[in-house]
């Protein structure tokens, strides 16, 4: 939860700062999405060996945090796992900022269950009934399953705090689509979801809780979890989340990952973003479990 995250982030920031070349004379402030924070960290750690003049300080906190910081003009690059909303763009313009969007990779949003859970595949409609407002799946037996270790049979729905980009994307991609199909009344989450403060907390909780189901970026998946195979329509063959299925966009809940700069990037920031889009930068992203923007062959 929050305190754990703060400690983790400050440690992460400290490590990045300490690994910076002392000769660096330009500091890029980079903040936002928890989904992107690991790869942003890896980029920041490697970049000084490419350009020792530039140091990058990375912190997480969620897409909302990064975008809020961009609007308030306190970061150079904001990381986001969702697009900026119209309202946010308007707010940014009002405060004199001009956010420019850059797609830096793709991420498969995986649905996790406990490793003892016998479920294998779920469709968007079933996910809608589990996660959505007015959905009628509240027990695992409603799906015809009996989950070992889950005596109460209750589905424990694990979600994210409401300004997380992962939360917003899941809501838009899965719940709005289920609402359109008439499966649930409204394209939003049901009441009583446990709103975790970070992808890592979702993973930790689902690992420990046999009754639980949650979602997060694929890069956060561990061996102690089971990844659900997802189909967009009932009856379609399902697609498992992986870097490959995210790259070719066949996995139905894959989303672009963004970096926002204030105005068209120039100087050090331009150099950094160009390097991120280069083969070297994209290979770091791929190694962290995300899908690159263009085909790369990595060592």
């Amino acid at each position: 939860m929050k305190p754990g995250r703060i400690v983790l982030l400050s440690m992460a920031t400290a490590i990045t700062l300490s690994s910076q070349n002392l000769a660096a004379n330009t500091l890029i402030q980079n903040k936002g999405s928890d989904t992107l924070v690991n790869v942003a960290q890896a980029w920041a750690e490697t970049y000084p060996s490419v350009n020792p003049e530039v140091a990058v300080a990375v912190s997480g906190g969620g897409s909302g945090t990064g975008i809020a910081a961009m609007i308030n003009g306190t970061v150079d690059i904001a990381n986001a796992s969702r697009q900026m909303k119209k309202k946010e763009l308007k707010k940014a313009k009002e405060s004199g900022q001009d956010p420019v969007e850059h797609v830096v990779g793709f991420d498969a949003l995986a649905v996790f269950i406990h490793k003892d859970n016998p479920a294998k595949e779920l469709s968007f409609n079933q996910l809608g009934k589990i996660f959505g407002r007015g959905g009628d799946f509240t027990k695992w037996s409603d799906l015809g399953l009996s989950v070992p270790g889950c005596g109460s049979d209750k589905i424990v729905v694990v979600s994210r705090q409401n300004n997380s980009g992962t939360y917003a994307y899941f809501k838009k991609a899965v719940l709005k689509s289920a609402a359109k199909a008439g499966i649930i009344v409204k394209g939003s989450f049901r009441q009583g979801t446990l709103d975790m403060h970070g992808s890592k907390d979702v993973v930790d909780l689902v690992e420990k809780t046999p009754c639980a189901i949650g979602y997060s970026g694929l890069a956060y998946a561990t061996d102690h979890l089971k990844l659900v195979c997802i189909s967009k329509n009932d009856g379609d063959s399902c697609i498992s989340p992986s870097v490959t299925t995210a790259s070719d966009r066949s996995y139905p809940i894959a989303r672009p990952l963004f970096m926002y700069t204030n105005g068209k990037p120039v100087g050090a920031i331009k150099g950094y973003l160009d390097w991120i889009h280069s083969v070297a930068g994209q290979c770091i992203l791929k190694n962290k479990g995300y899908a690159p923007v263009h085909d790369v062959t990595c060592p």
Binding site: M1, P3, T65, N72, N162, D195, P210
Partner: protein, 310 residues
């Protein structure tokens, strides 16, 4: 009079003379005055600040019905954001309620023991230990809830998740108990000894003396102590954030996860754009919390003062 007599003494310094000592005297006078009224200035300042930040929401997006009667808190929805705090109020109220059920017997028991039974050293040690208990940081309590109580509750009650009302209620009860104990102990000590002597003279046993004479005589002070505990529970943030499970929910049992008003502000304020309706709505929750705790503490204070006078 004094001044003139001193002046007439001649060899004493004139205290009207504006030397360094005079300036220091004046300076200290003003500094002490400023410290004296600082509490008032701060509380008024904070209230004004919170109100100004929340004002935009109160005038534009605020609907009394939605805010207090809707259980849906979805401030980030693109199409129609809803700002209902009913479920959050239910969360805060249920946790505080359970905390009081835990804390009242505990604190009343220890207050009676300290005030009526313990003597000498034992009594002093107990008082110091209870004050130490009050000094444990709330994040440490939250940590206990997260790492010790959570698996314990899962094991004992066979529920899927141990972060719930029961967990937070017990933690919060233990946090509120020390302050309730000290206030209750003061109230019991304030009962004059002649009450005890009279009751004992009538042949009352120790328990009869306490139950029939001392508790009724101290009831206002005890009530004030309980109310201060309630205020503590209402305002507590960190421990509640960590132990409740942070789920927007109108609870049906103590094993349901809930979310408190304070925890919502703590979790969301850092990540909203300054000045957005969401930001202002969080400040409106702040105004609401401030008003409630203000009323609770004021009532408690008036009750406690009431008995001191009589």
């Amino acid at each position: 009079m004094i001044r003139s007599s001193r002046q007439s003494a001649g060899n004493l310094p004139d205290i009207n003379q504006r030397n360094a000592a005079w300036y220091i005297d004046k300076l200290v006078q003003y500094l002490v005055f400023l410290s004296g009224i600082s509490a008032i200035v701060l509380i008024v300042g904070i209230f004004i600040f919170v109100t100004i930040e929340g004002l935009g929401f109160l005038f534009e997006d605020f609907s009394f019905r939605e805010f207090f009667l809707s259980p849906w808190w979805e401030p980030t929805d693109d199409d129609e954001p809803t700002y209902g705090i009913l479920a959050l109020m239910a969360g805060t109220a249920s946790v505080t309620g359970l905390a009081m059920l835990v804390a009242i017997p505990f604190s009343l028991g220890s207050a009676i023991y300290i005030a009526e039974f313990a003597t000498g050293r034992k009594r002093e040690y107990l008082k110091i230990l209870i004050e130490l208990l009050a000094a444990i940081p709330s994040v440490v309590w939250g940590f206990i809830g997260l790492t010790i109580m959570n698996p314990l509750i899962i094991d004992i009650f066979d529920v899927p998740v141990g972060l719930n009302i029961l967990n937070a209620g017990i933690i919060l009860g233990l946090m509120a108990a020390p302050i309730m104990t000290s206030i209750s102990e003061d109230a019991l000590k304030a009962v004059p000894d002649r009450y005890r002597e009279a009751a004992e003279a009538l042949g009352g046993t120790r328990w009869q003396v306490i139950y029939k004479t001392i508790l009724p005589a101290a009831k206002n002070g005890l009530l004030g102590g309980v109310l201060l505990g309630v205020g503590r529970g209402f305002g507590e943030t960190m421990a509640v954030l960590m132990a409740t499970g942070h789920a927007i929910n109108i609870p049906g049992s103590v094993f349901d996860s809930v979310r408190a008003l304070t925890a919502t502000i703590a979790a969301e304020l850092g990540e909203t754009a300054v000045g957005s309706p969401h930001y202002q709505a969080l400040f409106t929750i702040g105004i609401f919390l401030f008003s409630i705790t203000f009323i609770i503490n004021l009532t408690a204070d008036l009750i406690v003062r009431g008995i001191r006078k009589s």
